[in-house]
């Protein structure tokens, strides 16, 4: 058993900053590289490209930044928002406090105006008069006739709609001080293949930019200044990173049934395979993707492929996990490697498919009827999605069991600033205990479920390799020789070994990440995508004089360090994004600790967690304890 270690994936730039908030106040009293703004538009109108243009340009100015896409579950015509947070100190968790809002969607205008912080700015399309009722004295309204200008400058309604987005990007560039050069480069790169689009984009960009400069004092007191804090980092989404992990792990069979927010994982895998796995001459593919008829079938394909020796996986979301329940139990009991990615969305049932949550923890940990327990990994950001995807295949084959990489919509679909992914060419897949033809040739009798070394793992044979390796795989009662049984002892021998196997696995999953604080009495625990918000909150709380020891869980089943951490702290806050405190439940079940020592902080409305929410939770709980 290894002790916890400090994880290296997190940008150094975000290492605790004494001030606790990383704000940089310039002489002119303006707030530099530390603010947040959001854009409210209509989906399907092309605002996405304008927004990522803004995000990437800021990133290229060397300033830590994050973007959160809050979109509807339809294809076109409904309100959608894009939130960008700039933070020189490297805190890139979502923040609910917006200094500036761009209100492009009449349907959400009132709501957008209301969301500007007092003293903040509202950018709107002044082509048409503004509804006086929506005015706020404590907000500065910035009107730019985006619509009018685009109607004059462009022909065709489609182009006019599209360019309006680039135009507000131009206005923001002026107002916030985004380097025009940088934006220009991005546009040129973006449309390298469609040169004529480049011109119209530039025209639109300048419409907004110039108008803003002519009519308003630019930049605003919230502004950007180039830094050098993004070197060695990339802007990457978790599904793309996870797909890359599957490619690098040597996965050859991917089965799936499309579902938001997991679809882009397989899209990326297909893209990368097309790039790296197709024989240039023959066009032959070193991979096989099965778009299954549903999630049950997808799970079946993965299990069949794993049984036959291929590294196989399926990406899905909550509803898929529910549908795969029977098959998951089969893989657990027959001991077949299988990798499942659960990109969690808001449940229960269909829930809110385009909102995030951590609501599948319990469903995954003990998926399927009867006694079961499963290995799960909890990436905290896209970089870990990459590395844990690779680990997942190794663990699945070492322990011949289903392994779940538990991500969520925020990690999977949003662009995060993470260290550039690196690869060690000395890596070789750990295929676990697989008997070779030679070994089988030498054997008297191969017993599929016989554990020789006491770690709970029994060697497996692959079909087609050697007659001596033949055995019968069944989800019904079987003994250590894989023979059918209804005998209590023979049955028990096998299921008891599975317990030992999972205990061994607990020591092999990624160790928790521990951050100790001078003088901390209480602890705080979290996993997955809430990490950055918790990390920020922990820093700020420390600055307030509330030091907390922070343990970030990265794998399940839990290893001893988790229980130790809980025992060492009189009280531990458990932060998670679900209604019922599922992480807290797992901690109680697996460590036996009483609930009175676990203070729950939950946020489950579907938007990514903010540090403020965590701090409020801690303050509230402490107040309770005090009272």
């Amino acid at each position: 058993m290894r002790g916890p270690r400090i994880d290296r994936l997190f940008p150094e730039s975000a290492s605790p900053d004494p001030s606790g908030n990383g704000r940089v106040h310039a002489d002119d009293g303006s707030r530099v590289n530390d603010f947040a703004f959001k854009v409210g538009t209509v989906n399907g109108t092309g605002s996405a490209s304008a927004n990522s243009l803004l995000l990437q340009s800021i990133f290229r100015m060397g300033i830590p930044v994050s973007g959160k896409n809050v979109f509807p579950s339809n294809i076109q015509g409904l309100p959608t928002w894009y939130e960008i947070r700039v933070n020189g100190a490297g805190y890139t968790a979502r923040t609910p406090d917006f200094d500036l809002v761009v209100a492009m969607n009449p349907a959400t205008y009132a709501r957008d105006v209301a969301e500007v912080r007092s003293g903040g700015w509202l950018l709107y399309d002044s082509s048409w008069p503004l509804d006086a009722a929506l005015h706020r004295d404590d907000v500065i309204f910035i009107g730019v006739p985006l619509g009018k200008m685009c109607i004059e400058a462009f022909a065709g309604s489609r182009e006019r709609t599209l360019m309006k987005n680039i135009a507000y990007a131009g206005a923001l560039a002026a107002l916030l001080g985004i380097d025009l050069q940088v934006i220009g480069d991005r546009i040129r790169a973006e449309f390298a293949k469609k040169p004529k689009l480049i011109d119209s984009n530039f025209t639109a960009l300048h419409l907004g930019y110039d108008y803003a400069r002519e009519h308003y004092a630019c930049p605003l007191p919230i502004r950007l200044e180039p830094m050098d804090a993004t070197r060695g980092h990339v802007l990457l989404d978790g599904n793309t990173a996870a797909a890359l992990g599957c490619v690098y792990a040597g996965a050859t069979v991917g089965a799936w049934y499309p579902i938001t927010p997991a679809t882009s994982l397989m899209d990326a895998f297909i893209r990368f395979c097309g790039r790296y796995r197709v024989d240039p001459e023959t066009g032959e593919r070193r991979y096989c993707i099965v778009q299954a008829e549903d999630e049950l079938a997808a799970a079946g394909v993965v299990i069949g492929a794993g049984w036959a020796g291929a590294r196989a996986f399926t990406p899905t979301a909550g509803p898929g996990i529910s549908l795969m329940g029977e098959f998951i139990g089969l893989a657990y009991y027959t001991e077949i490697p299988a990798v499942f990615f659960d990109v969690q969305r808001t449940g229960p049932s269909t829930g809110m498919p385009t909102r995030t949550q951590q609501g599948d923890l319990m469903s995954i940990a003990y998926a399927s009827h009867g006694d079961t327990k499963h290995v799960a990994l909890f990436p905290c950001d896209p970089a870990e999605c990459f590395h844990m995807a690779v680990q997942a295949f190794d663990l699945a084959e070492r322990f011949q069991t289903p392994v779940f990489v538990v991500s969520d919509l925020d990690i999977g679909m949003n662009d995060w600033m993470v260290p550039k992914l690196e690869w060690d060419d000395s890596y070789r897949p750990n295929r676990g205990e697989v008997v070779t033809a030679e070994q089988l040739e030498a054997m008297q009798r191969f017993s599929r479920y016989l554990d020789v070394d006491g770690d709970g793992v029994a060697a497996r044979s692959l079909p087609g390799v050697h007659p001596n390796g033949a055995y019968f795989t069944r989800g019904s009662g079987h003994d250590m020789h894989a023979a059918y049984t209804e005998d209590a002892d023979a049955y028990t021998e096998v299921v008891d070994r599975l317990v030992r196997k999972l205990e061994t696995a607990a020591r092999a999953v990624p160790a928790p990440e521990l951050r100790l604080r001078e003088g901390a009495e209480a602890g705080i625990i979290a996993l997955g995508g809430t990490h950055r918000a918790v990390l920020e909150a922990v820093d700020r709380l420390a600055a307030e004089g509330i030091p907390l020891d922070y343990l970030r869980i990265r794998g399940f089943p839990f290893d001893a360090p988790v229980a130790d951490f809980l025992r060492r702290h009189e009280r531990t806050f458990v932060v998670e994004q679900n209604r019922d405190g599922q992480l807290r439940a797992l901690l109680m079940l697996e460590t036996g600790i009483g609930g009175d020592r676990l203070l729950s902080i939950r946020d489950y409305g579907g938007v990514p967690l903010s540090a403020r929410r965590v701090m409020d939770g801690v303050h509230a709980e402490l107040a309770e304890v005090a009272a």
Binding site: T252, R286, C288, V290, E293, A305, L330, P429, A470, Y484
Partner: protein, 351 residues
């Protein structure tokens, strides 16, 4: 009578095939099915077919769902890996096995409940993907293992043991497969080994999904008078379109020039399927005629049997996917991992 007293699948002598193996080498564990169950005859036919084809036992993967029929996989080819998946979900598992190792000879065994109720969707989509495998549907019109409820293949008017008769229209796997574009569709009878064995052989050699609907009576719950899936009623109603021979590659030359044959269809590997004679203007390469023929005889209460449709030049799942010919499961890792340099380069796109 206990299964202990029951001898393993019967077979004559100890004749040896091209691999020097005897029929016994193709047998499996002792059957625990009821004495006289049609499924055991299917097992015997499978043993015979594998023996005659000189199949290398351990190169076969046997898969099934759940049911008395699905237990068949345990009763032949003890030297081959077997897999009892979950009920109705074998087609997906078989698809995965094929994806991982296209060189395995995949034999899937299922029942009418396993295939036409809980498994209908998976069977249909395995057909659509044209996964290369032999799919034997042991069809007895009931759920045997759960003690005799009507299955979706029960004919209208067929009587249950308790007396009530089925009123819902049956799902005919043959018509379904033809409609879904299956490339090899046959129907046979567990009681007609002479017809079944060559069809099983052709099915195993077929590139693509070979569906064989085998009427396989359940002596315990559906072999009584009034049942349309009993031995008696099946024998009475059977109408064979054509007796077929399967001529493996090795015998090709000798067999190719058989004047007597009504039709000879070459398989992708050079072996031949020969239809000795054909029912009135029947053409086993015409999907729509096959469909019409089956329906027409059904309206007369007849059950058309034989190799009903064969299309051996269609693309199977791997052809459609353009998969490399070597099994994916043991591609050298180097050929799968793009390596550090490629990642370095890729990362630039995200900077």
């Amino acid at each position: 009578m206990t299964s202990i007293a029951k001898p393993p699948v019967r077979h004559p002598g100890l004749e040896r095939n091209e691999l020097g193996l005897t029929r016994r080498d193709y047998e499996g564990a002792m059957s625990t099915l009821c004495a006289g169950c049609g499924h055991d005859s299917v097992t015997a036919a499978l043993v015979q077919a594998c023996f005659e084809l000189s199949v290398v036992p351990h190169r076969v993967a046997k898969l099934s769902g759940i049911g008395c029929s699905s237990k068949t996989t345990a009763y032949f080819l003890k030297q081959a890996h077997g897999f009892n998946a979950v009920h109705g979900r074998m087609p997906a598992v078989a698809t995965g096995v094929s994806a991982a190792n296209r060189q395995l000879q995949i034999v899937g065994i299922s029942g009418d409940g396993d295939s036409l109720s809980i498994g209908l969707g998976q069977l249909s989509h395995a057909i659509r993907r044209n996964v290369s495998m032999l799919y034997v549907l042991e069809n007895n019109g009931v759920y045997g293992l759960t003690k005799g409820q009507f299955s979706a293949s029960a004919d209208v008017g067929s009587k249950a043991k308790r007396g009530e008769s089925n009123r819902q229209k049956p799902i005919d796997p043959v018509l379904l497969a033809l409609t879904l574009g299956a490339t090899f569709v046959a129907r046979s009878f567990s009681g007609d080994k002479a017809q079944l064995v060559p069809i099983l052989k052709a099915g195993m050699k077929h590139r693509g999904f070979a569906l064989i609907d085998v009427i396989s009576p359940c002596v315990t719950f559906n072999d009584h008078e009034g049942s349309t899936k009993s031995y008696l009623s099946t024998r009475e109603r059977m109408q064979e379109v054509a007796p077929v021979d399967f001529i493996p590659l090795t015998h090709e030359i000798r067999a190719a020039y058989d004047p007597g044959a009504a039709l000879t269809v070459p398989m992708h590997d050079g072996s031949l399927v020969r239809f000795r004679k054909l029912a009135e203007d029947y053409d086993p390469t015409d999907r729509d005629r096959a469909y019409a023929h089956v329906k027409e005889h059904q309206s007369r209460g007849e059950v058309v049997t034989g190799l009903l449709y064969l299309e051996d030049d269609a693309e199977d799942m791997h052809a459609l996917n353009r998969t490399v010919s070597a099994p994916l499961y043991d591609q050298p890792y180097e050929s799968l991992c793009p390596g550090a340099a490629a990642l370095e380069e890729l990362m630039r796109e995200f900077e």
